[in-house]
C-alpha cells in the first residue's frame, strides 16, 4: 500500500458516517489547538455578546497620532479588550478575577459567559451564581446540615451536610462580593484560599476552580468592607468598559431577539473540563526567560523600598514604616534626598505580596500561550501588570510626583499609573545596566561555592566588600542600588559561611 493509499484509508475513518436511514452523521469535532478555540470564543463574545470597541491590551510598536497631549497610539499588531481577555485567561489558569464597574455594564454577564464556556447549561449557571447581599449567611453559601440528622445527633460527627451544588462547579461566580457580611466573607476566603469549606466538622473540597467576583465599586462602595485577606486572594481585577454609543445597533439586534446572546453560545467554543485542564497544563509549560524575571524584579524592588524607614539595609522598606504606625507621606518629603520624580518608591504606599507576582506570572504565561508566543515576553507582563496590581498597589497621593499637573491624572487612572511606573522602571533598568553588570557577574560566579578553594573565596569576599563600599560611596542609595547591596551582602555572607566551613573542616 502506498503512502497516499495509507493516508486516504486513514482519512476515510473520519467523523462522517452513514446511518441506517441513509443520512450522513457527523461526530463531534475533536482536537485542534485549544488556544484557537479560546480565540474564537473571544471573537464571538466581542461580536455577539459583549460588543465593545475598547481594545486596551495592545502589542508591538505604537505609532502616536495627533497632538502630544491627546495623541492616540495605534499598534500594527492585534489588540484585545482586557474586559474579555482577562476572564478567558482566568478560565484556563484557574485564577480568581474581580470584575468591577457600574450597574448594567456586563460584569455578571461576562462571568456567566465563562461558566457557559466551560460547558455548564445557562439555567444551571443562573442558579449557581452566588448573589451577595447583607443577609447572606455561611449556610446560604456553603450548605446546611440535614434536618433529620440534626434531630437525631448527639454530637457533630454523624450530621451530614447538604453542600450547595455550586461548590462543585469548575467556574464559580460571586456577584457583588462586597455586599457579603464579614463572617460569610471568611467562609468564602477559606474556599478561595484553601479550596475547601468546613461545616459541622465536615470538610468539602472544591477542587481547581476559576473564580469570578463582581463589585460595583471595589474601593469602599460595598455594603461591607472586604476583608484584606480575601482581597489579597484575588489574582486580578478588570474593569467593565462603558457602553459605546456607536454600538447601539448591536443592542437593537438584541432587543429583536427573544433569547439572550449567551443562550446562543456556539458549541465550537465550549471547552470541556478536560480541555480546560489541558489548556492549563499548556499555559504552565510556557517558559519565562530570565531577562523578563529580572526586569520584573527590578520594578518590584522599587515599590516596597523606603530609604527613610530605617538606617539598616534590611529594614529599608515600607513595612517598617507601617509596623511603626507611620505612612510614606510622613517621611517622603524634602528631607529624603531621593528625587521624587525619578524614584518610583515615592509613588507607592507599599509593595505587593509574592502571591501577586505569582498571579501575574501565571497570567502572563496564559497570555503568551493565547498569543501563540513560545515564551513570556515583557509585553505580556506589561499588559497584565495593571490588572494584577490594580487593587493591591496603594498610591501615595501626597508624593511630590503627583503635584505636577501632568501627573495628576494618575490619581484617577490606576491602569495608566501602573503602566507609567513599569515603563519608568524599564528605562531605569536600561540606565543602570552598567552599574548592575558587576553585581550580576559576581552572582553568576558564586553560584556554586563548592568549586572554589579557600584563597578564591577570600578573594571574592574582598571584592564583594569593595563593591559594597563603592556602591554606597559613589551616589545615593535608591531602590536599584539597595537591591544590589542586598545581593552583594547576601553573596558576602555565603562566602563567609563557606570559608568558615572550610576552616572548620581543616582543623
Amino acid at each position: 500500500m502506498s503512502l497516499a493509499q495509507e493516508k486516504c484509508a486513514r482519512w476515510l475513518q473520519g467523523r462522517a458516517t452513514v446511518a441506517p436511514d441513509g443520512s450522513v452523521h457527523l461526530a463531534a469535532r475533536e482536537g485542534g489547538e485549544l488556544r484557537h478555540k479560546l480565540a474564537r470564543a473571544y471573537d464571538w463574545i466581542t461580536t455577539h455578546a459583549l460588543v465593545t470597541p475598547f481594545e486596551d491590551v495592545a502589542f508591538g510598536h505604537a505609532q502616536q497620532l495627533g497632538r502630544a497631549a491627546h495623541a492616540v497610539p495605534v499598534h500594527a499588531s492585534r489588540a484585545w479588550s482586557s474586559f474579555v481577555l482577562l476572564p478567558l485567561l482566568t478560565l484556563v489558569t484557574g485564577q480568581r478575577l474581580l470584575i468591577i464597574g457600574g450597574p448594567g455594564r456586563g460584569k455578571t454577564s461576562v462571568a456567566m459567559l465563562m461558566a457557559q464556556l466551560a460547558g455548564y447549561p445557562s439555567a444551571e449557571v443562573r442558579r449557581s451564581v452566588q448573589r451577595g447581599h447583607p443577609q447572606l449567611t455561611v449556610s446560604d453559601l456553603l450548605g446546611s446540615a440535614l434536618p433529620s440528622d440534626l434531630l437525631k445527633a448527639t454530637h457533630g460527627e454523624p450530621v451530614r451536610v447538604a453542600w450547595r451544588r455550586w461548590l462543585g462547579l469548575r467556574v464559580k461566580v460571586i456577584d457583588e462580593y462586597n455586599r457579603i457580611p464579614t463572617k460569610t466573607q471568611s467562609a468564602l476566603l477559606s474556599l478561595m484560599a484553601e479550596g475547601c469549606a468546613e461545616a459541622f466538622e465536615q470538610v468539602v473540597e472544591v477542587g481547581p476552580s476559576s473564580w469570578y467576583l463582581t463589585a460595583n465599586d471595589d474601593l469602599g462602595g460595598g455594603t461591607f468592607e472586604v476583608i484584606e485577606a480575601l482581597r489579597d486572594r484575588i489574582d486580578a481585577v478588570v474593569r467593565c468598559p462603558p457602553y459605546s454609543g456607536r454600538m447601539l445597533d448591536a443592542l437593537a439586534d438584541r432587543v429583536g431577539d427573544a433569547r439572550p446572546a449567551a443562550d446562543t453560545l456556539p458549541r465550537d467554543i465550549v471547552l470541556s473540563l478536560a480541555e480546560i485542564e489541558r489548556a492549563g497544563e499548556a499555559v504552565r509549560a510556557v517558559p519565562i526567560p530570565a531577562d523578563v524575571l529580572d526586569a520584573l524584579g527590578f520594578f518590584a524592588g522599587q515599590l516596597d523600598f523606603c530609604t527613610r524607614a530605617s538606617a539598616r539595609l534590611e529594614f529599608k522598606n515600607k513595612d517598617t514604616l507601617h509596623i511603626a504606625g507611620r505612612r510614606v507621606a510622613h517621611v517622603c518629603n524634602e528631607d529624603c534626598p531621593l528625587d521624587k520624580q525619578e524614584n518610583l518608591c515615592a509613588q507607592t504606599e507599599g509593595g505587593v505580596s509574592a502571591r501577586a507576582y505569582q498571579s501575574l506570572l501565571l497570567l502572563a504565561k496564559g497570555l503568551a500561550w493565547f498569543r501563540g508566543e513560545p515564551a513570556v515576553s515583557l509585553e505580556d507582563v506589561r499588559a497584565l501588570l495593571p490588572w494584577t496590581l490594580h487593587d493591591k498597589l496603594r498610591i501615595n497621593p501626597q508624593s511630590a510626583f503627583f503635584q505636577k499637573s501632568e501627573h495628576q491624572v494618575y490619581l484617577t487612572d490606576r491602569v495608566s499609573w501602573i503602566l507609567q511606573m513599569f515603563d519608568r522602571a524599564l528605562a531605569q533598568r536600561a540606565a543602570y545596566a552598567r552599574v548592575r553588570e558587576p553585581v550580576e557577574r559576581s552572582r553568576r560566579a558564586l553560584v556554586d561555592l563548592a568549586l572554589l578553594d579557600e584563597a578564591q573565596l577570600e578573594k571574592h569576599a574582598d571584592e564583594l566588600r569593595a563593591m559594597i563600599a563603592k556602591l554606597v560611596d559613589q551616589g545615593e542609595v535608591n531602590a536599584p542600588v539597595h537591591a544590589d547591596l542586598l545581593v552583594l551582602k547576601g553573596l558576602h555572607g555565603r562566602c563567609q559561611r563557606a570559608l568558615g566551613e572550610r576552616r572548620e573542616a581543616g582543623r
Binding site: 502506498s2 503512502l3 497516499a4 493509499q5 493516508k7 486516504c8 484509508a9 486513514r10 482519512w11 476515510l12 475513518q13 473520519g14 467523523r15 462522517a16 458516517t17 452513514v18 436511514d21 441513509g22 443520512s23 450522513v24 457527523l26 469535532r29 474564537r40 470564543a41 471573537d43 464571538w44 446562543t264 456556539p266 458549541r267 465550537d268 467554543i269
Partner: protein, 279 residues
C-alpha cells in the same frame, strides 16, 4: 422546501460554529441545493441526501473551509468538493451509494485539512477536473501518490530532459515569476504582476512535469542542502559542468534547483517555464 432546509441548516450552523457565515452558506447552498435536488428528487431517499449535503456544507462553512482565494481557486479539497463537485457529480452516483459517497467525500476532504497546506491545495488543483465521485477515494490516492513518493537525490550526471511549459495554457495572463518548493515534487509559481495569483507545478522525470492549475500559495518553502552549481546563459544552462540547451530562454527571471534533479527557470519576457530534469 430548499429555502426551509437552508434556514434550518443555517440555524444549526450558527448554533455549532462561532464564525458561521450565513450569507456565504446561502450563497453556495442555494444554487448547489437547487442543482442537486433537480437531478435527484425522483430517487428514493433524495430528501435525506439533500439534507445530509446541506448539513455537511454548513459544517464546512462554519469551519471556515468553504473558501476560495482571490484568484478564485478553492483553498482546499473540502471546499472544491462541497461547493462545486458534489452537487454536480453526486446525481451520477447510484442512489443507494450516494450517502456513502457523501460521507467519503467529507472524510477525505476533512482528513486533508490535517496535512500540510501544499498537499491540500495540490489535491484540490488536481481533483478539479474529476468526472465522477464513484471510487473517489482511489482517485485521490492516485492523485497524491506521485507527490508523496520519495525521490532519491540526483547524481546530476545526466542525461537531462528539458520540458518547456506554457502558463498561458492554464491562465491567459499569467506571467511566471518567483518559485518555491512546497514539497520535493511540487513547486508553487507566483505571478509576477498579480501578487495573489499562483500556479502549481508537479515535477516528474523524462519531461513529464506538468502545470497543476491555479492554486492558493502552496505555503511551504522547502530548503534542501547540497545542490550543484547551476549557471544560465542565453538559450542554455550549465549544470555541474554540463551544458543543457534551453530553447527561447534569454535571461532567467527566477530559478530553482531541487535535490531530486530538477532545475527550473522563468524568463522576464515570457509566459514559459523551463524545467530540466536529471534523474
Amino acid at each position: 422546501m430548499i429555502d426551509a432546509l437552508l434556514d434550518e441548516m443555517a440555524a444549526l450552523g450558527r448554533e455549532q460554529h462561532s464564525r458561521f457565515d450565513a450569507a456565504a452558506f446561502r450563497a453556495i447552498g442555494a444554487d448547489a441545493a437547487g442543482l442537486l435536488w433537480a437531478e435527484t428528487r425522483d430517487a428514493p431517499g433524495a430528501e435525506v441526501v439533500l439534507r445530509s449535503y446541506l448539513r455537511l456544507l454548513a459544517e464546512a462553512v462554519g469551519m471556515g473551509c468553504a473558501a476560495r482565494d482571490p484568484s478564485g481557486a478553492h483553498a482546499n479539497l473540502l471546499s472544491l468538493l462541497f461547493a462545486e463537485l458534489v452537487p454536480v457529480l453526486l446525481p451520477a452516483v447510484a442512489p443507494a451509494r450516494r450517502p456513502r459517497a457523501l460521507a467519503d467525500a467529507w472524510n477525505l476532504g476533512e482528513g486533508l485539512l490535517s496535512e500540510p497546506a501544499w498537499m491540500n491545495r495540490y489535491a484540490a488543483a488536481l481533483c478539479a477536473p474529476v468526472a465522477s465521485l464513484d471510487d473517489f477515494p482511489a482517485h485521490l490516492a492516485a492523485v497524491l501518490a506521485p507527490a508523496l513518493a520519495p525521490r532519491p537525490a540526483s547524481g546530476w550526471l545526466g542525461p537531462s530532459t528539458v520540458r518547456v511549459l506554457d502558463a498561458r495554457s492554464v491562465r491567459d495572463d499569467f506571467l511566471p515569476g518567483a518559485m518555491h518548493l512546497a514539497a520535493p515534487s511540487v513547486v508553487c509559481v507566483h505571478d509576477r504582476r498579480a501578487p495573489r495569483s499562483q500556479l502549481g507545478l508537479f515535477l516528474d522525470y523524462a519531461g513529464q512535469s506538468s502545470l497543476l492549475g491555479p492554486t492558493p500559495c502552496l505555503g511551504a518553502n522547502l530548503r534542501e542542502g547540497a545542490l550543484p552549481p547551476v549557471a544560465f546563459a542565453r538559450n542554455a544552462a550549465e549544470i555541474a559542468g554540463r551544458a543543457v540547451p534551453l530553447p527561447w530562454l534569454r535571461a532567467p527571471q527566477d530559478t530553482l534547483v531541487t535535490a531530486a534533479g530538477f532545475v527550473l527557470a522563468t524568463s522576464a519576457d515570457s509566459q514559459r517555464l523551463w524545467v530540466i530534469d536529471t534523474p
